[in-house]
């Protein structure tokens, strides 16, 4: 039930640092949370799980036509081949940019995001401005990010309203034909896999 009358959080200090400390303290005192696990969780998402995972997926799809076909048919399984599985990436669909279509991903209702392949979402993705505007004026949003669309490109915005997560596969940049998969990884930014950037230009 909604229990709108009942907001126990208001009993905690309003300073967010103290609010977190308060809840952590009582949970540790009761044995419900292990401080070592908190440190491990922070290290995992700060240093180990991030957008390099997704960049590897994209670079492999650019390099290997059979992998590309598997990614576009069943992205969850294709991504799992590389060991990227788990929380907030239980169901993944890859959507590919083409000269006719540019894809953009948002979660207007909260902050759904493919953690196992892109890590924790950046602040801008979670901002009210992005959540409010990406569906109504995606072209204005893309222009704000400096993305120039092709004259014939339609924009398709994916609002992540369920547990399906969308991974944008950017177009492979001009002049990258001879590049190794490892070098291609460096051209794939986090924003490019959300749709607010294109793949990097070849130096």
């Amino acid at each position: 039930m909604p229990h709108d009358h009942d907001h126990p959080h208001s009993l905690l200090p309003s300073d967010p640092e103290l609010r977190v400390k308060a809840l952590e303290s009582i949970l540790v005192e009761k044995g419900l949370v292990d401080p070592d696990a908190l440190a491990e969780l922070i290290d995992t998402y700060e240093h180990k799980i991030g957008p390099k995972n997704g960049a590897r997926v994209v670079a492999k799809a650019w390099s290997d036509p059979e992998y590309h076909a598997r990614l576009m048919t069943d992205a969850t399984a294709a991504i799992a081949e590389l060991g990227f599985v788990g929380r907030q990436s239980e169901h993944v669909v890859a959507v590919e940019n083409t000269p006719e279509q540019h894809n953009l991903v948002v979660c207007t209702l909260c902050s759904c995001y493919p953690w196992a392949i892109l890590g924790i979402p950046p602040s801008w993705y979670k901002s009210d401005a992005y959540r409010a505007r990406a569906v109504r004026e995606p072209r204005a949003v893309l222009a704000e990010f400096g993305v120039e669309l092709g004259a014939d490109q339609a924009v398709r915005v994916w609002d992540s309203t369920a547990e399906v997560r969308y991974l944008v596969v950017p177009m492979r940049p001009e002049g990258s034909a001879g590049m190794s998969e490892d070098d291609l990884v460096e051209l794939v930014s986090r924003n490019a896999m959300i749709g607010t950037a294109l793949a990097g230009a070849v130096a």
């Binding site: 229990h3 809840l23 419900l32 070592d36 569906v135 609002d159 309203t161 369920a162």
Partner: protein, 232 residues
């Protein structure tokens, strides 16, 4: 009526901040707020839909004023109490512990508490939301109309995933995802009640009428079967 989190299409929010930000956590407390949410989830006392709903239930003025992780820590506190794991008295004691106004009591770690050595496996555990059951009423290419009113049909003010901007609109089914856990039920402890889930595409012109930037553009939403009816 929907709640404050349902902001897709809203006017007035201004520019998007920090577009190239590569910092994962902007302060230690943000990192701890996230980690506490994940460690608390491992206790198994609620599901993901309940935790989303706990954040949505914040008072609109709090939702608007709180930063992202303030919403998370506040929603989590409310969830601990509504699930019965902590009492209001525990929260009052927590407030004292935070300012060092009382002595902590050492505790044995509960059997259910997430251990550091279990974090990697826990975050990589594959726990899909797809389920058996529920015949698909619609096929790719079918025209469907969304419910005219975005709300939870079982619980007034309850959790739902049909954004207001797409309520009462006609779109086309572009993907079948199979049957998935239904948040409108699962968020309220009413069971998983899996239903077919579809990706439905709406033309920008149908959603935004004269405000649409381009008639060529479209928005795709994942919508459960009970949000939809056949458009004939």
């Amino acid at each position: 009526m929907s709640r404050v989190h349902d902001m897709g299409g809203r006017f007035g929010d201004g520019a998007i901040p920090e577009k190239d930000d590569a910092v994962v956590f902007h302060s230690e407390w943000e990192a701890r707020a996230l980690a506490l949410n994940l460690a608390a989830g491992a206790l198994g006392q609620w599901n993901i839909d309940m935790s989303r709903h706990a954040r949505e239930r914040l008072a609109p003025k709090d939702y608007a004023n709180f930063s992202y992780y303030e919403k998370w820590i506040s929603g989590l506190t409310d969830l601990f109490v509504s699930s019965g794991v902590l009492s209001v008295e525990d929260i009052e004691r927590a407030a004292l512990l935070a300012v060092g106004d009382t002595e902590a009591r050492p505790a044995e770690l509960s059997d259910k508490a997430l251990k550091a050595e279990a974090v990697w496996a826990g975050m990589h555990a594959v726990k899909p939301y797809s389920r058996e059951g529920g015949a698909a009423a619609f096929a790719v290419g079918d025209r469907v109309r969304t419910a005219t009113y975005s709300h939870n049909k079982n619980v007034a003010g309850g959790h739902t995933r049909l954004p207001s901007y797409a309520a009462g609109r006609v779109g086309t089914v572009v993907m079948l995802h199979g049957a998935h856990v239904f948040p409108d039920s699962n968020a309220h402890g009413l069971g998983e009640a899996p239903e077919p889930l579809y990706a439905v595409e709406f033309s920008a012109a149908d959603l935004w009428e004269g405000d649409a930037e381009s008639a060529a553009d479209s928005m795709v939403l994942d919508l459960w079967q009970s949000y939809l009816s056949a458009e004939v």
